[in-house]
């Protein structure tokens, strides 16, 4: 049985570690904030210039000068700091963010990612995505394994224009968890959704992947 969005998000949250500095992409990745394990101290960075995102504001707390990268009103937690966009991307580009979680349209077998433009459609821009995939220490993609037409999103080579090359460390889909093996330059299947078989994943993946020796069931 395929994982729900909620379950994918929860599995992604299991990658967090105490003290981690994390950037969450717009959409599904944002929800990871709801699953930070009790007692674990994780600091969320917003690339528009904040370290230490707090919960969404109450009606009274809403402040037009305090938004996240998705332009939503937010709050800041005690110990937070504000800085410029240049300083924010020093932090990102310089390797000072431990982990980011992003959505994707395609991921290639060597860890390339495409998630910013579809030729022929209106291009809105890449925002901070190219900097994040190039600079963050561990880059995780959360997405459905196949698109709405049932076509695989994990491919030999991306057909869409790239956001970054060789930069994805881990993919969490509704079917499985794949981890990049930096020596072999291929993703290794490490976890399966309940009731999903390795054969099914291989069949639904348009790329060369390695089935790990010890494939477990995703704990959700």
């Amino acid at each position: 049985m395929a994982l729900t969005r909620e379950q994918i998000t929860k599995r992604a949250a299991a990658e967090l570690q105490d003290g981690y500095i994390v950037n969450l992409g717009i959409g599904m990745p944002t929800l990871v904030a709801n699953h930070i394990p009790e007692g674990m101290d994780v600091w969320l960075q917003s690339e528009n210039g904040l370290l230490g995102i707090g919960p969404f504001p109450t009606e009274d707390e809403i402040d037009a000068d305090l938004i996240n990268a998705g332009k939503q009103t937010i709050t800041a937690r005690p110990g937070a700091s504000y800085f410029s966009s240049a300083e924010s991307f020093e932090m990102i580009r310089g390797g000072h963010i431990d982990m980011c979680i992003l959505g994707a349209m395609e991921v290639s077998q060597e860890g390339d990612i495409a998630n910013w433009m579809i030729p022929g459609k209106m291009v809105k821009g890449m925002g901070g995505a190219m900097d994040l995939v190039a600079g963050v220490r561990k880059v995780i993609v959360t997405m459905d394994h196949c698109n709405k037409k049932g076509q695989t999103k994990i491919v030999t080579e991306c057909s869409l224009p790239l956001t970054g090359k060789n930069c994805i460390d881990q993919i969490i889909t509704d079917l499985c968890v794949l981890k990049m093996d930096n020596q072999k330059k291929r993703f290794v299947l490490t976890e399966l959704a309940p009731g999903v078989s390795a054969e099914e994943v291989v069949e639904k993946t348009g790329a060369e992947i390695i089935v790990g020796d010890d494939v477990r069931e995703v704990a959700v």
Partner: protein, 249 residues
């Protein structure tokens, strides 16, 4: 001391055409992220100068009826250098019809290009965009990533090629800050800071609009985000501060 404080946004730009700062074909930097921290009044004052063929450096392009959307309505912008422009139907129409040129930069590259312009750095290398459309036509070369120089990072830092990016510099920067003193020292507020501080260093002429004027010496010298030497003019305004995504708990 030369008085930098003007009565309103229109006055702040009034003589800039005569001074050669505002001219058809000029380059303008405009602070803000979405509608947060944009110089609302200065954008309108720039529109009212009637200047045409603007190249505009700004992370976003406003919405249809606010921010830079106002300059798009009047077709005064020839080219945008931005990282994301998703919230604007006028933009989309002009872009698709080929009336508007757009250069997309990764957000961090855009921020760094502006900062480099202000810092006298004509070019720098970044891993961002390597192997993508952004790197096309640009020089790429291999370096050890800075992180690799520390032994404890060995193996964790990705060795890869870097792309050469050049700096950005403008004729005019329009800045939104929270407080200013008469020397032009600026303090920003929360995430309304965003692109404003770098832009204040990367233009030949810098005008800021602020929520509040204070006296010289009233700002904590440890916490001045933009020293007054970068700022040519200041106006005190009351901002509307529109919100794009009102999200609550």
């Amino acid at each position: 001391m030369a008085d930098k404080v003007l009565s309103d946004a229109v006055q702040a730009l009034a003589d800039l055409r005569d001074r050669g700062v505002i001219y058809d074909g000029m380059t303008v930097m405009v602070g803000g992220f979405g509608l947060c921290g944009i110089p609302e009044h200065l954008i309108q004052a720039l529109r009212d100068t009637g200047v045409k063929e603007i190249t505009c450096v700004s992370n976003n392009a406003g919405v249809d009826d606010w921010g830079l959307g106002l300059l798009l309505q009047t077709r005064q912008i020839k080219k945008m250098i931005s990282s994301y422009v998703g919230e604007n139907a006028i933009f989309e129409k002009q872009f698709i019809e080929g009336d508007l040129e757009v250069e997309f930069n990764p957000q961090g590259t855009l921020a760094e290009r502006i900062r480099a312009g202000g810092a006298g750095i004509p070019a720098f290398y970044t891993a961002t965009g390597y192997g993508t459309l952004v790197a096309e036509g640009k020089e790429t070369r291999e370096f050890d990533p800075p992180l690799l120089c520390a032994k404890v990072n060995a193996g964790t830092a990705r060795r890869r090629p870097f792309v050469m990016e050049t700096s950005l510099y403008a004729d005019l920067a329009l800045i939104k800050a929270h407080k200013a003193d008469p020397f032009g020292n600026l303090v920003y507020r929360k995430t309304a800071r965003n692109f404003n501080p770098m832009m204040a260093t990367a233009a030949a002429f810098v005008v800021a609009e602020v929520d509040e004027m204070v006296g010289v010496g009233d700002l904590d010298p440890e916490c001045i985000h933009t020293p007054g030497s970068y700022v040519h003019r200041v106006v005190n305004t009351v901002s509307e501060k529109r919100i794009e995504q009102r999200t609550t708990r």
